[in-house]
Structure formats: C-alpha cells, structure tokens
Amino acid sequence: MNSTGRLLAAASIAALGLPASQSLAQDDGISWALFGTPGVIDTPVAALPAAGTITGTVTVLPDQYRSTFSFQVSDRLNAAFRYSTFVDYYIGSPTLEDLYDRSFDVAFRVLDESEYLPAVTVGLRDFLGTGVLSSEYVVASKTFGTNIRASAGLGWGRLAGHGAFDNPLASLLGDSFADRPASAAENGDTGKGGVPSYGAWFRGDAAFFGGVEWVATDKLTVKVEYSSDAYLIEQTRNGFDWDTPFNVGVVWFPRPGMHLSFNVLHGNELALTATVLLNAANRPLPSGFDSPPPPVQVRDTAAAASWAGAIDARGLTPSLQEAMAAEGLTLVGLELDGDTLRVRYENDRYRAEAQALGRLARILTAEAPPNVETFQLEPVYAGIPSLGVTLARRDIETLENRVGGTDAVFARADRGPAGPNDGLVPVDDPDPAFTWGIGPYAGFVLFSNPDPVQIEAGIEMRARYEIMPNLVASGALRYALTPYRDDASISGSPLPHVRSDAAVYNNTGNPGIEHLTLAWYGRPAPEIYSRVTAGYLEAMFGGVSGELLWAPTDSRLAVGAEVNYAVQRDFDQLFGFQDYDVVTGHLSVYYDMANGYFAQIDAGRYLAGDWGATFSLDREFENGWRVGGYFTLTDVPFEDFGEGSFDKGIRISVPIDYFAGTPTRQTFDNTLASLTRDGGARLDVEGRLYDTLRSGQLGDLQDGWGRFWR
C-alpha cells in the first residue's frame, strides 16, 4: 500500500475506532478475557494496558451474555462497566425469567514488573452491583522471554468457588474476614444493589488461581488456566457442565484493535469474546489533514518605520474578514489603537483554541499595518468574549518554524480577560441570521432491559435565528426511524416521574420537539458570565433557566450558580405541559487539575425536588477525549430510588476530529448510566456556561497549545 493509501486507511480505520498505527493487543500480550478486562480466561492478570486504552468486549457464555466497557484511567488504574444478561435466572418465577445486571470493576496495579519481581494487581469485580459476579483478587504476573506470561493469584467471592480454603486474612485482620455476607443476589434481592458492598470485600473463603498465556504468533495467543470460578450460579440455574478447573483458549488478533477469543470452559462448555479497542491518547494522524496555515509575513523594517497610518479599522475589515473566513474564523469586531490591533473573532472550526489563535496571528502578520506591534486576540463564545490573548507581532515573525517556538509563544503571551466592547468597531456577520438544517442523527440507548444496546436514529431538523450574537432562538425537531422502545409504560416510581417515563416520551413524541428556546448570554463583569434560557428546554421539561459563572481565564477554578423553574412537558413532546413543576438549581464548582483530571461538584435541588450533590471526576486527554464517572447522592432513600439505589454512571466525550482527521469542534457525547431514575435527575438545558466557555480557559488552552503553529 502506498503512503496515500496508508494515510487514507488510517483515517478510515480510525473512524471505525481502530487505530491503524498500533497493535495494542500485542504490545504487552494483553487480551481482554471473559469479564471484558485484562485476563487469562476466567481469571485476571496483573498486566494492564497503556493509559487511555478503551475497550468494548462482548462475551458469549452458555446462557449468559456480558457487554463490558473498560477504560485504563492511568498507568495503574483500570475501571470497567458491565451489562450482563443471565438467561433463565429466575427459576420458578411466574413473572421473571432473565436477569439483567449492571456491574462495575476496578483494578489497581500496586507493583510494576521488574527483572525479578512480578507485577501485582489488586482488583474488585462487581463491587457496586447486585453481587452476582462479585469477587476480589490479588494477582501477580511475570513475563518470561518475549512471549510467555504466567499469572497466579488469590481470589475471594466468585473466585473462591473451587478449591477454597479458610481466608488467610482472617488470621491477620480478624474474624470478620472469616465469613462472607450474602450478596443482594444471594438474598434473592436482585432489584437492589448499586451501593459498594464493603462488608463483603476480601471476606470468606479464598482460593488460588493461575494461568499461562503464550504469544504463539503475531496473530495468536494460546492460554491455559486453572480457574477457581466454579460457576455455581450457572450450574444451579442453567445446568452448566463443570468437570474440571482447567480452561483452555486461543485469542486471534485479526487486525490491530480487534481480538476474538475462543475458549473451552471447565471441560465441556464454550465461551467466545470479541473486543475492539483504541487508545484515546494516540490520535492516528497527530497533526491531521488540516489545511496548511497561511505563512507568517515578515515586515520590511523600513516600511514599518515609514508607515504613515493611512488606514483605520474599517479600512482593514474587508480583506481581514476574507482572510479569516478562509481559515474558518469569523471577524466579530476590531480596534486599531496606535500600535495595537485588537481583534474579536469566532472560531467555528478548530477544536483547540490555540490553533485558531495561531492562524489568526499569522493572518494579522499579513493584514495588519506594519506599525502594529501588538495583537490582542479575543475569541467569542455564544456571542460573549471571555479570553484575551496578547501577542507581540515580533514573536510571531521570529518564532515560526523555530524549535522551542511553541513554548516560547505561550510563555510570552499575555492571557487575561477580554477587553471591553467600547472602542471595538463591530463587523456585520456575513452569515444569514436565520439558518436551518435537516440531517441524520444517531445515538444509543444503552443498558435498557432487555437490549443492552439500542440504536436510536432518525432525521433531525434544526433551525437557529441569531437576533444578536448573544441572543439566539433555536429549536430542533426529531423524527425517529428506529423501532420504538418496547418497555414504554408509566413507571411505578414513588417519586415524581421526572425521568423514569423516558420511554413513554420516546414512543409518544414522534415527531417531537427536542428543544425550542430563546437563550441570552452576557458578561456583566470581566470574568463573570450569565445565561438565561427560556422555552422548551429539553425533551421532558420547559421553563426558564438562569445561570451565573465566575471563571477567571488564567485560572483552573470556576464557580457557577444556576436556578431553573421547570414544568414537565406532555408525552407528545409538542407544546403542552403536565401539572408537575419545580424550582431546581445548583451551585457548581469546576476544577481543571493540571494532571489530566477534571473535577466538578454540583450541589442543590434536583428535578424531583430532592436535595443533594453530584460528584464528577473526568480523565481528560489533551486531544479532547474525556472519560469520567459521576454519582449523585440526594435525600431520596435508596428504597424509593429503586434499582441501583442512587444515580451514577460513566460519561464519555469523543472529539470527532480524532476520527475524521480534519478540523472540527464537534464531539460525540454519551453517558453510560447504570439506570435512569427520578432521584438525582438534573435539567438537561443546552449551552451551560462552563462548557460553552471552557475552550478559552487556561486548562484547555494549554492542553491544545501544541497546535498553535499548526
């Protein structure tokens, strides 16, 4: 394949989520086993993949299916969310048949492998669910040569089903470790779960397990395992034919980023897995297919000295506007004051604001009068400016193409709040005030009984009328083409049904108005921003939403407050309302840590009238990927909340340019919630301030600064 083909293939494969330039599977010989996490077959290994590795694994066992999303949060920490279907779980029940179960795993590598010592990992499986799959383990793995890894460990819970002995921890930590309390599932209460089962961790009998993985070829790994998982639940309910603790399997790597495994379990049963993986940290084409930026035009010193100042801001506008439009930037206003040119602009193309700043600075070296020495650049978000970056023209002229030039520009740039509107010559937006579009949409409804993955797709019509840059009316109407959800009935929740009737909305409101709002954004003071949104705010609620945000541009901290009056919409998602209304609101704290983590706390009143707080922690990558988790605790008792006990989930935001290879600010956002219930439910209003403004905040700006000269 020639290089053109190579690049195109990389882009195409990237779009499918399969980075072409890497073979993670083979990198450490790691494969994702029956639990959808690194392992031999039933049992785990201590080796963990590179930070940023994201996998999706489907496991087919006799009368059991598991879909697992796994994420390597850091070098040492792996987290996984699993949705399992246990066929014919409820023996003898007249109403229930299959069990649909959600579970979370974590694994932490406490010791790295060295020349003589193995890697050691401690893990918890199904530590937050009903306990059907729960186990804990300590496992050590050591590689021998380049193609053999042996692992051995000690397991509790499900991993102590065969060959069990008294818990050695009981003699070390006390008798409370001698017995393992029954899980919710063992108590026959599969409708609960969702809270950490601390009292059972590392309790009860323990058992040894171990296995060997042999990387036979680049495409095949062979595995043999002594498994302490006795499949007791499956033996009881499904007639699982367990003959021996030994398992054998083979993993086939048909192409980079894809694993298929075939396993013979315990002598008589078969299990299959299919895994796709990518690494969020490895964009396949690092600099992308972005068009080359305009070259920096270096001034003639004599021309600068003899400049008579015969042009003003209005005279500059036409050619500057045209040059910026060619780079995907919209000129909003400018001010020419002595040797300083202030330019306010809107960036609709580049995910990294630094790239837009760099391109604009390049343009200004050609467009600005030669006596201009300073560029003040002010990106605008939702019609309001936040950030102001001051660059010395001389730096742009001298640092292009220079080693160290990227860091030098960042160090020398002055970052602060955008300047006032006074003095700016506004520029008419050449784009029409009214825009509309019709196109496809697609999304997933995940982990809804009985189908773990339902695709929701259809046609969406959007319209937007920009009355002023910061005052916008917009709406979206959707018509779903996918089959209706088959569990659409009014829920039995004892709380106001603010979310639990989602399927009824989905089935009744087609076509339905997704939102129809008037939104106004403001900047009442430098570094303080405001938003008021009124109308049909989201699919289930209408009303008025107001928000204030304090967000210094050169700080990683921001604080916001939001108050909403929300009225529940009719199921048909047209113009009517139901009787339920509520005043809801939150105080929010946002903190972008410098180490790739982002924390957010929202405390206040939720849609069902419950009071509490949501705690979120995201692992953020500089290239725009975000994977995180959240949980919400409110004053709704766990019993009233229903299955899952409280709201929690995993959220993921994928920058589309990672796959497309061309510049775009689009993201694909999804939340893997354990369940959608009424407690801890927050209004889903579009355009919240922090997300709207964050590209100009220090954290995001610094993350993308490598693209300044790109």
Partner: protein, 221 residues
Amino acid sequence: MNVKIKTALATAGLCLLAACGTMYEESPVVTIAKAAIPALGGGPPGDPAAMPPGFRPNEVAANPGAYRLITIQGLYPAGLARLTESHGGSQTYESQYAFSAAFENGVLLSTRGLADDLMAANPGALLQTIRAGGGTTRRVHETLTGLDQIVTTSFDCTVEGGAREAVNLGLREAEATAWEETCVGGGVQFTNKYWLDNTGEIIASRQFVTQTVAYLRENGL
C-alpha cells in the same frame, strides 16, 4: 410524478443520507462517514489531480524561480510548490496538493498539511559542516503527538560526500556536489541528501519529515 415532486423527494433523500440546509455544521454522523469513506469528501485535502490557481502553466512560465518541484514518495507525486513567503534565507512553499513546506537556505524547517508534520527543525551547523568538507553535527526536530503536545527529538548526524554527480531536476539534469547527512536519534535513523551547485546553494534535496511521511524530495525548476 412531476419534476418538482421528484426534486423534492430526491432532496429529502439526500438530507437523509447527508445533511442539507444553511447550517454549516454537519452531523457528526456525516463527518465520521466522510472520514471512513474518502469518496464522500473526507481524507487528505490535497487532490493529486488538482491544478489550483497559481499553478497554471502560463503562471509558472512567467516566474519559474518562484516554484519548486516537490515529491513525497508514495504520498504525493511530483508536483509544483509555489513560493508564498520569503524573508532573508527563509522560504515557504505551498504545494498544489495543499500542503506547505518551509526551508531556510534550502534546509527543511517544517511542513504543514501532511497529517504527521514536522512542526519545526533546527538543522544545527549542517551548512557549515558541508562547507567544511564534512563532519558531525546535531539536529533537533519537533513533532506533534497524538495528545497535541510538541515532542522534541535530537539526532546525532554525520555529514559526508562532496562527489560530483548528475542530479535530476525534473525538467533537466544538472551536475552538482552531493552530500549525505545520516542522523540517528529517538529510535530513528534517516539519511538526508543535498545537491549543491557551484555557488554552494542547495538546488535539490531529499529530506526527512517524520516517520509516517518519510522523505520529501524537492528541487528548483
């Protein structure tokens, strides 16, 4: 069915598959589909068959000194690149295939638009070493990582050569002094080649960009 209805139905069908209207932002579904299926309009911006304004034969003939011939083996065939900025010894050329390359005294400093670009380079004392008849030198390259971070790699280089040989300049052949710069660093080894005319100027070269792109071959017309 009359033409208007047919047109309306066809338009609706196209909207289903792609997107239509006056909103500039297309659906992420379409963006990804374009990337996955280059025939829909994604992939590299440079069309090998392109002849954009500024590259027409009469324009080239009018000012041949403002053009160079650039080839990136296997990625883009031999094509013209037009001088878009020149200051001192630095020149930036934009290719007809929508990528650019910047040189200083003929030595590659950076590329843009090649998906895995050379963001900046410091070739060290390369030209002085050539003028001195060969020796060792050190160069530094900056590239972008998948995390948008600049990574710097230093290379230890050996410069040798000095033999006269014929070099193909596309439209003609010329006699030139050939030099090779073999560099090792960061787990990579590459060999740049430079052909210098009698005045000591580089008239043709083959220079390393990045591991994905490999070499850029260029010469004046």
